[in-house]
Point group: D2
Chain length 342, copies 4
Amino acid sequence: MVDIKVGIVGLGRLGKTHANNVASNIPGMTLTAACSVVESELDYAREQLGVTETYISYEEMVNSPNLDAVVIVSPSGFHTEQINLAMEKGLHVFCEKPIGLEIKEIKKTVEIIESRPELVFQLGFMRRYDESYQYAKEMVERGDLGELTVIRCYGIDPCSGLESFVKFAGASNSGGLFADMSIHDIDIVRWFSGKEVNRVWALGKNAAYPELDEVGELETGAAMMQLEDKTMALLVAGRNAIHGYHVETELIGTKGMLRIGAQPDKNLVTVFNENGVVRPTSQHFPERFRDAFLNEMKEFASCIREKRQPGVSARDGLEGTRVAYALQQSIDTKELIDVTRD
Amino acid sequence: MVDIKVGIVGLGRLGKTHANNVASNIPGMTLTAACSVVESELDYAREQLGVTETYISYEEMVNSPNLDAVVIVSPSGFHTEQINLAMEKGLHVFCEKPIGLEIKEIKKTVEIIESRPELVFQLGFMRRYDESYQYAKEMVERGDLGELTVIRCYGIDPCSGLESFVKFAGASNSGGLFADMSIHDIDIVRWFSGKEVNRVWALGKNAAYPELDEVGELETGAAMMQLEDKTMALLVAGRNAIHGYHVETELIGTKGMLRIGAQPDKNLVTVFNENGVVRPTSQHFPERFRDAFLNEMKEFASCIREKRQPGVSARDGLEGTRVAYALQQSIDTKELIDVTRD
Amino acid sequence: MVDIKVGIVGLGRLGKTHANNVASNIPGMTLTAACSVVESELDYAREQLGVTETYISYEEMVNSPNLDAVVIVSPSGFHTEQINLAMEKGLHVFCEKPIGLEIKEIKKTVEIIESRPELVFQLGFMRRYDESYQYAKEMVERGDLGELTVIRCYGIDPCSGLESFVKFAGASNSGGLFADMSIHDIDIVRWFSGKEVNRVWALGKNAAYPELDEVGELETGAAMMQLEDKTMALLVAGRNAIHGYHVETELIGTKGMLRIGAQPDKNLVTVFNENGVVRPTSQHFPERFRDAFLNEMKEFASCIREKRQPGVSARDGLEGTRVAYALQQSIDTKELIDVTRD
Amino acid sequence: MVDIKVGIVGLGRLGKTHANNVASNIPGMTLTAACSVVESELDYAREQLGVTETYISYEEMVNSPNLDAVVIVSPSGFHTEQINLAMEKGLHVFCEKPIGLEIKEIKKTVEIIESRPELVFQLGFMRRYDESYQYAKEMVERGDLGELTVIRCYGIDPCSGLESFVKFAGASNSGGLFADMSIHDIDIVRWFSGKEVNRVWALGKNAAYPELDEVGELETGAAMMQLEDKTMALLVAGRNAIHGYHVETELIGTKGMLRIGAQPDKNLVTVFNENGVVRPTSQHFPERFRDAFLNEMKEFASCIREKRQPGVSARDGLEGTRVAYALQQSIDTKELIDVTRD
């Protein structure tokens, strides 16, 4: 079994996670090439990960004759173009979410992807590969919960990053709280329900940093969404969880309900001290979803070997972004928004 | 210290709870009179509770020279009239929620109540007297959570009552899911935030009993509300909790969050068996709020003795109903509703 | 229904709890008399509880023609004599644990009690009247756990009292850690298993206050006991729980296991803050067992009315003390001790 | 970096776990050789794991010029001899617990191991490499719990294996419940406390399968141990957990306490259904300690590369077995046993 040779573009925090996984933890994959405009990141790839080819230009990397696949972890604005180019070169593509920033461009890229069914395309919705989410999904499929009526998703980042977010909030645009934070939650709603979102209302409040009002950013938001079969979805997105990284999903059905991550337990330790009975908490996504990042990349490798497509498609990326933008539109207009599909 | 002599009207499930408390568990109160159109309920009052005066007519009861106060647990449609009459007779009034069914009538009653400040009036928002809710309220007052940004309230009845609800759904009107089930949650949102609700959107879905669509009733609903200071409130109301009586409140603030009743633990027992690790659950409101019902009645007695008004006022009842009706209007019109106050 | 007229002896912390319950919270009981050598305690009884007869001499109190029953909450050394005297006077007796300090005297008192079956005698093993313990007992009786194999009991007092315990440790004798702290746990082991303890080994360690070694007292101890049917019991007793009042009981059976108070939750609030996910804790026995104290006194009243004996007998007190002393003997001799019954 | 070439002996359930890890999941290790007397196991190694050398004779395997290290997962009776032989051949050794069955032989093997400090020797006490145990260990080292006074360890296998255990209980000897089940717990007690065990008492009870009495085996046992600094340790060992695989460790110290695995949560899902609030549970050790098995093997590889010894030494194996045998001796003699070291 010859190893799948992978080139990666982008070596920030999440990029390094993927790079390390491909280089060391995914049997049957080799990290052959890395591309970044940051010299120190290329040094890291060479020295720590044993990468033999490094590039400043993505175009040059995909022209390398030594690659089977690319992993795209660059800034979101580059995604569609980099996907298109890789597809053109006949490379399998694993791309971090979102698939792109403009609906029109995303659609074009989805068409390109769908025109090359022999190439594997996978979007980085890693939660679908988390064992707790998979356990819940199996319960839903088996009918243990009956028919779903309400889905509640919380995605709240730890407050440790908020101060620096506030500092740079004016300079760079996050895409808005919901596009930035809820994209995974929207995907999870669609995944569990198998339904599309029809109508949304979104609200926000800046209380710790009221100055965010001035730059059109939000610290905390909430949204309610109606799905095509009347299932109700509630979202809370935030950047200010004092206790850690709070990702929680609840499914309410006619025969039972369940919660994934009702509290973000870090491990199996319970501490009894002057504060009461305390469970330590996960502090960030690389910790919470460490195994999910591994599992999704193993699935990418398996899909390539077994010549099949993964469960999460390019179209999932398109629909997720569509809903995120509707939520932002609701924030902007203060109105109910019908999600339009054409 | 002479006992406060109480007459009660209505001896259904909740009425019996109050009647028993007044008769046996509230030091300094005596249950003197009972009024009901159901003969067996009057027998019960005489034989089990030692009540000496029983009435079929409420008007007759309040004319008894032996009463200091009335406890109103009759059907909601009678509340305003019975309050008005008791006030006229100079009796202190404890009234179950809601204060009435018509905003206009409620307002008139609120005026009557406010014109008699020497008479104690208390509305049966017992959650405010639950020790967990009080513990949370103290945390909020102390600033432990910082400024509130999101409040989430679940009020889901056990499924055991759903079948009979469905059977009678056409015949009698429940007032709608939100007026019926969320009135306590709306009060809790107002209590914790100290703010009024400005704008709401409500949704519903009938999945276990789709026939409820035909009679305009809901099995499960969700709502999002914007408060005057932009605080966001999320509600889930339902009649179909498989696991028991699920009343849960969450407060998210800039300095921390908390949940009351994150799971409806029945007691301190944890069972380890073939189902996994299991916590038994509360099965209905008399079980979950047993002490709260006691506490609110003790507070009513204290207010009478100490010649002061309780924390929960007639106006709280008016505002709660106003919001519940806005939620129902949103269900009916499928639109965002601005809550109007005139 | 005429009220049962009660005299109480001893008005310390626990005495006040019982006095308040009898005076205000137990329907059908009146607190008529109080006895104490502390003048301020008698003032309290008169002024706060409306007691009409106060005594410095217990003998005088039991000679009052106005009493039906006594509640004994005096220092343990007086218990047997006070029980004997009350029985002689034809009074029903509720006595706090232990029944006495000397096995020989206890036996004599048990004989006296058993010679007066028309008088109700109840020992203050309030845990048997806690709703979680009762829920567990019902599970055991129903066979939900199969046959019991291991029982584990923790009784650890909050550290808040340790410093003052250390200060007075030389002056007054606590009876030893196990007699002082584990007497309830021993009773619980006997209650759940229905078996007697045959053989014990006990250990102790002073780590926070090594000076306790010098006065023969223990800060923390552990014991293992073999019951007559080979069921194993593990005890931990302590005076140094940082997190609060930790009373926990575990039952392991052939068909399942359960824990009562696996963590000493104070209420239904969960806090998410910089410490992690935190459950506040019970801080002392009046808080944890508030309802159990009420329930046991209600049972005492019911037994008097219904002319029957309660589930917890004088003999339970004798056996509990016997085992506690065997544990202390094991600490003293460092050997396995066979519990002897003659 | 050249891969470490590994030969494995024993390919049962645990052997397969290690073999798969070495073959696929440990960067820098290759599974070169496998030894078994079961032909199908060698087929598995060749076909599923790509092993190039297979052996029926362990002696032949360690004579292969292609190996750097061996992983010993054979029946316990072979361990000492196989360790000795590998050491003689200059191979690094990873050996599953226990190090051997006879104290005398173990001592000889420990001497051999200690005479070859340039060869890495690691014993399979994988719990030390579990992230929750490591988190707890760090808390202890930092002094968060103060001085330890009580350590409680439960190791209870799921009941799913009990029936077949009973069937074969007469034919093959398990070494006794404590040697079989508590060896990890004993190691954990020594690891957290840094102290040796001085004195023990052990008890057992067969309730589900009383016929085990006849073959001298135990279904459930409990033990109390005194450590050299008076720290107390409580053990429960069993083969009959209805709810899954219950491995739990508790540390009580003068400044706080903690529990690892207070309940054996399978994942982060909480289910609310007709049984109550349910957490699914781990079902066996490969599931619970999956990552710990990986981590210990990574540590073995790192030690080889970095020319150092791991935290868990041959002597830890000797001491663990010594205590396990003292527990069994206590069962046999029904007496307190002093652990002797010569």
